[in-house]
């Protein structure tokens, strides 16, 4: 505690500095034009010190944690001391500090009497940045040059003067310039708020006090992180998981492999062994791989550790260049969200080996991206982009959540009625699907399906889904969830579609997506029969599956558990299964030596 000069003043400073980051985030929220920012909260704000070290990040999107320092480092590399009051920087180039092209960074250096004390930082996912597919999110581009406008670190404002050339370049290269400009203004407004409030902070604490307490804020987060890490066991744990394919080389799985090494109060997250970068647009930047790594580790640390550089100091992330976790030019990366999600699954797997009682099984695999775009008869464009996910893996103490955003991207769903009022789309179903959740003492989250009917003449449907061939794993005896599904016209031809696709749709076509079920945790034969009964009663589990997976026999006339029949059934299943030991990880359904006997009348 001796490091903190005045603990009271420090606490007050820390409150203020995080309040600035949050207030920036609320400014974006209040002034944005687009649903991506408002509903999906796909943006982040923060305050860094004069050297670009992150002091405070607002509470919006875990997927962006770690992105600001990388982007600021690039600004520093390019401009060094060629920077002055009134400058504002803009950039989105994934190979020069960015993440993927829709994420545009806007930074403003903040000065006090000529000295640079801080940076206000914002990053927002924009509705469209041009490229070959509307929404700039396509998973089937094979090089960055097809994905849209690539902006190197540039001065959008120089000494307070707007560079109109940059704005014109943007305007002529994106599909909805009004929205993009509206959201850029939101980012500038957030930087302006930060500048004003930071000046008040400097007035109160003085420039030296401000510098000292910014450093302290980082050190404080580092102390909290290290204190928490020190309580975890030392050692090394590895885990692997797969993405089905990249949507270009169909059926060719992509391996993600992580090793976590923990010594004392330091952790290393090493992705060496991960698949080389791929043709499809799912290559991560290192900053995104870092965010996925931090997300996993943070979920086993106590709540309330501030988001800043101090956390990064205690967690090293390694990923060799040229891999799918650290792509190099000309890797396409627009749809790299998928790789980030699978990396968090991988992190949970590795952490579950380290801390069996603390970590959840695999969820549905993260967002499925569905976009439908085209032109109305009057040639005006429409772009409908939906990211949806919702089944959490089971926890060692509770079922997985049904219908809840993935931890890596805390997004909200769009209202169906608003979608129907604004887009040539109808939703025909948005509901849970029974018998897909992985069985377990605690079952995985129940997935849902969404049916989209297209009601314009013609459009392009683009889907990025996964977890078809490689199911969400179960842990410590829990079964994996059932795979995801895609269909065209389920009530007609019911054609099975691949996990990743781009196709033309016509008026009346219905696309159905069913999420993968989440993995279970613990032996299903130990699940409380009352919990099984509840799921059957709620039609999330069929009586047949209750008996086959859980050995629970239910009297559906009276809604009761048949106790003796259940005991007998469970004993038979236990014998037929004959686990030498409880399997730590299950990626396929458990195998029974003898086929289980036919169902008896209760």
């Amino acid at each position: 505690m001796a490091e903190i000069r005045d603990p009271i003043a420090f606490e007050l400073f820390k409150n203020s500095v995080f309040s600035i980051a949050d207030e920036m985030a609320l400014t974006v929220f209040r002034t944005t034009y687009s649903g991506v920012l408002k509903d999906n909260m796909d943006y982040s704000t923060g305050l860094a010190d004069g050297d670009g070290k992150l002091v405070a990040q607002g509470l919006t999107l875990p997927g962006h944690l770690g992105s600001v320092p990388t982007a600021l480092a690039s600004i520093m590399r390019h401009y060094g001391e060629d920077m002055a009051e009134g400058d504002v920087f803009i950039m989105n180039d994934p190979f020069d500090g960015g993440m993927h092209l829709p994420d545009i960074f806007v930074f403003k250096p903040l000065y006090h009497q000529g000295e640079r004390l801080a940076f206000a930082a914002t990053v927002c996912h924009h509705t469209d940045v041009g490229g070959r597919v509307a929404g700039s999110n396509a998973s089937d581009s094979t090089e960055i040059y097809a994905e849209g406008l690539r902006i190197a670190p540039l001065k959008l404002y120089e000494a307070g003067k707007l560079n109109k050339t940059i704005m014109t370049f943007i305007e002529r290269n994106v599909r909805l310039p009004v929205k993009v400009f509206g959201d850029l203004r939101a980012q500038l407004a957030a930087c302006h708020i930060a500048e004003k409030q930071f000046a008040e902070l400097v007035a109160r604490y003085g420039p030296d006090g401000t510098k000292l307490y910014m450093k302290e804020t980082i050190d404080y987060a580092e102390r909290l992180t290290r204190a928490a890490l020190a309580k975890l066991p030392d050692g090394e744990w590895s885990f692997e998981d797969w993405i089905d394919d990249d949507g270009i080389d169909y059926g060719k799985p992509i391996r993600l492999f992580v090793t976590i090494r923990k010594t004392g109060s330091q952790m290393v997250v090493d992705w060496t062994g991960t698949h080389p970068q791929v043709k499809g647009a799912i290559n991560n930047t290192l900053s995104f791989t870092k965010a996925a790594s931090y997300c996993g580790v943070r979920s086993v640390l106590p709540q309330g550790i501030p988001n800043n550089e101090g956390v990064f100091r205690a967690i090293d992330v390694i990923c060799p260049p040229g891999t799918v976790g650290n792509g190099v030019l000309p890797a396409a990366c627009a749809a790299r969200g998928l790789t980030g999600f699978r990396m968090t699954d991988c992190m949970f797997g590795a952490l579950a080996m380290m801390l069996p009682d603390k970590v959840k099984a695999a969820g549905d695999g993260g967002n499925t991206g569905i976009s439908i775009g085209g032109y109305h008869a009057d040639r005006s464009p429409f772009i409908y982009v939906d990211f949806t996910c919702g089944a959490w893996g089971a926890r060692p103490w509770a079922d997985g959540l049904d219908g809840n955003s993935h931890m890596f991207a805390n997004m909200a769903s769009h209202s169906i009625e608003v979608t129907e009022a604004e887009h040539p789309i109808q939703l025909l179903a948005y509901e849970f699907v029974a018998d897909k959740a992985g069985a377990g003492k605690y079952r995985g989250g129940v997935p849902f399906r969404r049916d989209y009917r297209f009601i314009e003449e013609e459009g392009t449907l683009q889907v990025r889904s996964d977890r078809r061939d490689h199911r969400p794993f179960g842990l410590y005896g829990g079964s994996p969830g059932r795979p995801s599904e895609n269909y065209l016209n389920p009530d007609g031809e019911n054609r099975v579609l691949p996990g990743k696709l781009t196709m033309t749709v016509k008026r009346g076509d219905v696309f159905r997506h069913v999420l993968a079920g989440a993995g279970g945790w613990g032996d299903p034969l130990e699940r409380a029969p009352a919990a099984v009964l509840k799921d059957v009663r709620n039609e999330l589990l069929s009586p047949a599956k209750a008996e086959a997976d859980y050995g629970v026999v239910i009297d559906t006339a009276r809604w009761t558990v048949n106790g003796p029949a259940t005991e007998a059934r469970r004993a038979a299943l236990r014998q037929a299964r004959s686990w030498p030991e409880v399997p730590k990880v299950q990626r396929e359904d458990p195998v029974f030596r003898a086929p289980p006997p036919a169902r008896r009348r209760a």
Partner: protein, 694 residues
């Protein structure tokens, strides 16, 4: 004969009753809330006041009531066994919610359980499109089947919410008809009738909450009415709504969704009235009790309202950015920011060596260390006792004895020593950090909405509000603080200032320039008729019924709307021009720019507020408590920070504040303590408010 109006506010631990006579006399009572039977507590409290004052039920003209009965039923999941009927394919809208959660990185997050279990959610095979066209007609047989299914499950209430029903209610009304025929007495909540607005999750959730609390609220109001009648109190009963307006007990029983956040509204409305009377255009209200602190903004005499909020979301710890907790209600409510900071909040040191306050609270049991009832962890109240702000011997006029020595020992050992500071410095730090946490609530209703708190006066009430107000105002560079009379009972006192008010809204999407204006006119007229009819039932007709209209608009293609007030008059071309211009101006104010005249403006929703204007004058300008103030305690040393150190500080009664007095001083009252630091000046205005200038 002097007649009285009554304000009754039920809190978690205390029920506060205020009787206000036409002559400005106030009688107050603070009694323990008998959990499980709040109605009895009210009748008992009134009876007790009658005994003390010699009054009887015949002099009461009106009882105004703020209640947490509905929100408690939701928090404790003790509402009705409710069934829901919805469109096939959308059985799980209620449970899937918006997917977002209020916590990041939290594996242990648990969603609030749905208020209707899945097996009580019936679907019907029907479909209406976004424009109101019936794509798939609902068959009578299918509707009957769904209703029968729920009745067979012995549900105690039914909610009905179909996709796109706000554009065409035909199928919902068909189902409602069947329910009303088959089970006429069963509480029924139909989305088109209670909330004809777009967004299926928000609408479903609201309609379900309404049904879920209906039997509880109507049962409670019936019991209360019966109790009042038996005690010879014929006065009519009005309920405070979440929006700050009053409604009758009958209307509240039919639409209990409007009274869920009834509790905290009274104080804000009271502050609004006092501010109007003082000619203050901009105030921030600050209400701090034992476990939480709440802030809100009143601007140009108007309270700010949120169009939707969550009930049971827990206390905002850091940020308004994180949503997804609790149960969503799309009903206008006074916009309050709440933080978990009160007198009972625990003071502790975290793993990083930082001093922290709350959000855990010592509650009523064991309470702060100084209560000497077994509490061992220091609290904010203990810090205030050490600093000399709170009377070291007792609280609530002597009803609660304190042990200051114990507070000091515990603070020294658990906070001061680990931090390596003197005990008063540590206590002062804890006081400041508690203030800084509460400042976040104030900021979230001011700076986060683009308002500069320096332009506002701080209205402080609740038992602890006046104790922290000056320090907080100073940190925010605010220069004026107002502490109203009966500050500790202000939530019930404020009820006396409220008016009858009903809010109606409807989604109605049309491009203004291309719209059939007669159609818009008709829709608006229908809403106005609804408002007028309700007011008429409550005895407000002719000039006593006033309507206000507003419109929510956006540029075509925008995802979000802005709401602008709409003048009276026909919906014609001139009105369209007016609305487009008003929207453009509001857009510029909010976003800093507006589009050119070529951008078409779309009407998204229409609103009508119906107000019942009361007879004669409202609250008398001067009020005085009938409670005899005891002679004040002697001066005591109080600590105001390292620069001034300990200062001998006079302790006064409110009535002793003749002329302007310079701080430091402490105003000690039965229900609250007000601290005026050095450098501040305090005086009493004609309305009995303490006004402090910094």
């Amino acid at each position: 004969m002097i007649t009285y109006r009554v304000g009754v506010d039920i809190g978690g631990t205390f029920t506060d009753i205020v009787l206000l006579g036409q002559d400005g006399t106030i009688h107050t009572a603070k009694i323990s809330s008998s959990v499980g039977n709040y109605a009895d507590a009210i009748v008992e409290g009134l009876t007790q006041l009658f005994q003390e004052t010699g009054l009887d039920g015949s002099v009461l003209e009106e009882i105004r009531h703020g209640t947490t009965v509905a929100s408690n039923a939701i928090l404790e999941h003790k509402g009705a066994r409710t069934g829901l009927i919805t469109t096939k394919g959308f059985r799980d809208i209620l449970e899937i919610r918006t997917l977002r959660m209020p916590r990041l990185y939290d594996i242990a997050w648990t969603k609030p359980p749905p208020l209707v279990e899945r097996y009580l959610r019936q679907v019907v095979d029907e479909r209406i499109d976004a424009h109101g066209t019936v794509e798939r007609a609902l068959s009578a047989a299918d509707a009957e089947r769904a209703v029968s299914g729920l009745l067979a499950e012995k549900v105690e209430a039914i909610a009905v919410c179909l996709i796109n029903s706000f554009t065409n209610p035909v199928h919902e009304l068909m189902i409602a008809d069947i329910v009303r025929k088959r089970a006429p007495a069963l509480p029924l909540s139909v989305s088109y009738e209670v909330l004809p607005e777009i967004k299926e999750y928000e609408r479903t959730s609201t309609v379900v909450v309404n049904a879920y609390v209906m039997p509880i609220v109507s049962g409670y109001l019936r019991a209360l009415r019966r109790g009042l009648d038996e005690a010879g109190i014929p006065a009519r009963l009005l309920l405070m709504q979440s929006n700050g307006g009053l409604t009758t007990d009958t209307a509240a029983a039919e639409r209990p969704m409007n009274i869920i956040e009834s509790g905290p509204a009274g104080g804000v409305i009271g502050a609004q009235a006092l501010a109007r009377a003082k000619g203050l255009k901009k105030i921030l209200t600050f209400d701090m009790g034992g476990t939480t602190a709440k802030a809100s903004m009143v601007e140009d005499g108007e309270v700010t309202r949120a169009a939707e909020y969550s009930v049971g979301a827990g206390i905002m710890i850091g940020s308004r950015l994180l949503t997804g907790a609790g149960y969503t209600l799309k009903v206008p409510a006074i916009d309050l920011a709440e933080v978990g900071a009160g007198g009972g909040s625990l003071v502790w040191i975290d793993a990083g060596g930082s001093l922290q306050i709350g959000p855990e609270s010592a509650g009523a049991a064991p309470g702060p260390v100084c209560y000497d009832k077994g509490g061992e962890t220091p609290t904010v109240t203990d810090a205030n006792v050490i600093l000399g702000y709170i009377n070291p011997l007792h609280l609530v006029g002597g009803a609660l004895k304190l042990n200051a020595g114990k507070a000091k020992t515990s603070f020294a050992e658990k906070v001061a020593k680990p931090l390596g500071m003197a005990v008063e410095l540590a206590a002062y730090g804890a006081h400041q950090i508690a203030a800084s946490n509460m400042i976040r609530a104030i900021k979230s209703v001011s700076t986060e909405r683009g308002r500069d708190p320096r332009e506002f006066a701080l209205f402080a009430f609740g038992g602890n509000g006046p104790l922290f107000a000056c320090g907080m105002a100073r940190a925010l560079s605010m220069s004026r603080i107002v502490v109203p009379p009966s500050a500790g009972l202000f939530s019930s006192f404020g009820l006396l200032y409220a008016d009858v008010e009903h809010h109606y809204a409807r989604t109605f999407r049309r491009l203004l320039r291309k719209a059939d204006l007669a159609e818009i006119e008709a829709a608006w007229t229908a809403l106005a008729r609804q408002a007028r009819e309700q007011l008429k039932i409550e005895g407000f007709a002719g000039p006593k019924a006033r309507l206000r209209r507003s419109a929510s608009l956006h540029y075509q293609g925008q995802s979000y709307e802005l709401t602008v007030p709409m003048p009276d008059g026909p919906i014609d071309a001139a009105m369209v021009v007016h609305l487009e211009e008003a929207f453009g101006r509001e857009h510029e104010k909010t976003y800093g720019h507006r589009a050119g005249p070529e951008e078409p403006v779309e009407l998204v929703a229409m609103q009508v507020i119906g107000m019942g204007l009361r007879d004669g004058v409202g609250v008398p300008e001067q009020v005085r408590s009938s409670r005899i103030e005891p002679s004040p305690p002697p001066p005591r040393p109080a600590y105001f920070g390292p620069e001034t150190g300990w200062l001998e500080t006079p302790v006064l009664r409110r009535s002793d504040l003749a002329g302007t007095r310079a701080g430091p001083l402490i105003v000690e009252e039965y229900d609250a303590t007000c601290v005026v630091p050095p450098g501040a000046r305090a005086s009493l205005d004609t309305a009995g408010n303490i006004v402090i200038e910094l």
